[in-house]
């Protein structure tokens, strides 16, 4: 990587520092460029939905922010601090594992396939990281976890293993598990795509409540246009690893400017 890092600030300062900033971020797998000089800001407390065709890089955006993937160019900042990089002698260098672990504490993620720990009960799933990563006492972690499981409506399932829970219930445990780490930013990657239609509402209701009552910053990849329209502060339409168009839900869904956006939206609407 021969990128000139001096073009990137060591940290973001000023009055309106975004909670998340992608600055000129590039990601490629071999010759395949998945994200192409992406710029994206998410303000503190903002709910941004990411929509777009399959393979347009939506999941990749979340995975890079969760530091599950390294990036090939650019810098990601979280809460004003560089996430993918760290300062060394006045310049940004790729982040060490230690730096990543410090920064990751602010970010939580829910996956399409839940990824619950199958050998732990619902409450154990939620307690595990608070105890072993944050160093909370078991009692404290348990109280925090029970509170969250109650919030997602699973107070009667706390001692069940994931194999005994429905998909909707598992996804709600996964949300509680992520929230137990008290992240500032929550990432949702198609969290309802693997669910039966009749339980999708259980999960979207939880997300709706998070938006209404909690001051979380959220980035949500979704194929549910109706939900995105209802809940988002802003919607980004991805195409070929770039943001083709973005705007308020009313603008983007009601009056899309770009042809690709129009095509995509009419195709999804037709599919139902």
């Amino acid at each position: 990587m021969s990128e000139d890092m001096s073009a990137y600030p060591l940290r973001l300062e000023g009055d309106d520092v975004p909670m998340v900033r992608f600055m000129n971020v590039t990601k490629s797998y071999g010759a395949l460029v998945v994200l192409d000089s992406l710029d994206l800001d998410v303000a503190a407390g903002e709910m941004v939905s990411v929509i777009g065709p399959s393979g347009s890089g939506k999941t990749t955006v979340l995975r890079m922010l969760m530091t599950l993937e390294t990036i090939n160019g650019g810098v990601i900042y979280v809460d004003g601090q560089p996430l993918t990089h760290m300062e060394k002698n006045g310049v940004l260098v790729p982040a060490s594992e230690k730096h990543l672990r410090k920064m990751r504490a602010d970010i939580g993620m829910c996956f399409q396939h839940f990824n619950l720990f199958p050998h732990m009960t619902a409450v154990e799933n939620c307690m595990e990281a608070p105890v072993h990563v944050l160093g909370l006492s078991k009692k404290e972690a348990r109280e925090r976890s029970l509170e969250l499981l109650q919030m997602v409506g699973l107070e009667d399932k706390v001692d069940q293993h994931p194999s005994r829970l429905s998909g909707g219930q598992q996804q709600r445990v996964a949300i509680a598990r992520a929230l137990a780490m008290r992240p500032k930013v929550m990432l949702f990657d198609e969290v309802t795509s693997a669910l039966d239609p009749e339980v999708i509402g259980e999960v979207t209701n939880v997300i709706r409540e998070l938006v209404d009552k909690h001051n979380l910053t959220m980035l949500m990849v979704t194929h549910q246009m109706g939900f995105a329209k209802e809940i988002s502060d802003r919607v980004c339409f991805f195409f070929g690893g770039k943001i083709e168009e973005q705007g308020s839900p009313d603008e983007l869904f009601g009056n899309p400017q770009k042809e690709r956006t129009q095509q995509f939206l009419s195709a999804v609407m037709e599919a139902g």
Partner: protein
């Protein structure tokens, strides 16, 4: 020489053989304990980001798996002293058999570890677990059930291979049976008894392993 089984002789040598059975069990147990732990080390060493380490461990495991156990036992016991490492038969035997089975178990573990879905790693990473914690709290508990059948096979395997330790004079069942034979010139009873004792231990062990396997799965909430 006809078939003349002598019961009086059988009962005379039985206590001695039962005592030797304890040594056999001790040898199998100790060897297995070494193999279980060392095998995990060998498996994890092949999963570090270091290509060199992975490659080196891979070669060692392949080497051990492709050469006979009895040769390895001789090697540790007789070649060691040439390098100034003089070990007792027991110590040499435990090192050789422990290492031998560790390399087999490492393959079992490797399969088990690889069977854990990638999503488990990603969830652990998103929750900010360290690599060590991820292994011990998340990955290994899930790698265990699919490894148990293989681990059980090698437990019975190591037990059945303990007679090889007789070649360097470890006083286990085979060694004792040989000694009885050369003292009394009767081989039928001691060797038959050894076979029966092995059978009586191997068969229930294999059954117990299957019970244990489903118990673990249930305990971990996986079924």
């Amino acid at each position: 020489m006809g078939f003349d089984w002598r019961w009086d002789f059988t009962f005379e040598i039985l206590p001695r053989l039962l005592l030797a059975t304890l040594n056999t069990l001790l040898a199998a147990g100790l060897g297995y304990a070494i193999a279980v732990v060392l095998g995990l080390v060998l498996a994890l060493a092949q999963r570090t980001p270091s290509r060199v380490l992975t490659r080196a461990v891979r070669e060692v495991v392949e080497f051990i798996r492709s050469t006979p156990l009895v040769l390895q036992i001789f090697f540790v016991y007789y070649v060691g002293p040439q390098f100034g490492i003089r070990l007792s038969p027991w110590t040499s035997g435990m090192i050789a058999i422990g290492l031998h089975y560790a390399s087999y178990l490492s393959e079992v573990y490797r399969g088990g570890l690889e069977s854990v879905p990638k999503g488990q790693w990603e969830a652990a990473r998103a929750l900010n677990f360290s690599t060590a914690r991820t292994y011990f709290r998340i990955i290994i508990p899930q790698a265990l059930p699919p490894s148990l059948a293989g681990m059980g096979n090698y437990l019975v395997g190591i037990f059945k291979d303990t007679p090889m330790l007789s070649v360097i004079g470890v006083a286990e069942l085979m060694h004792t049976a040989n000694a009885i034979g050369s003292e009394s010139y009767r081989f039928l009873e001691p060797y038959t008894l050894v076979g029966v004792i092995f059978l009586l231990i191997s068969l229930p062990t294999a059954a117990l392993i299957r019970v244990f396997e489903s118990w673990v799965r249930k305990k971990l909430g996986l079924i």
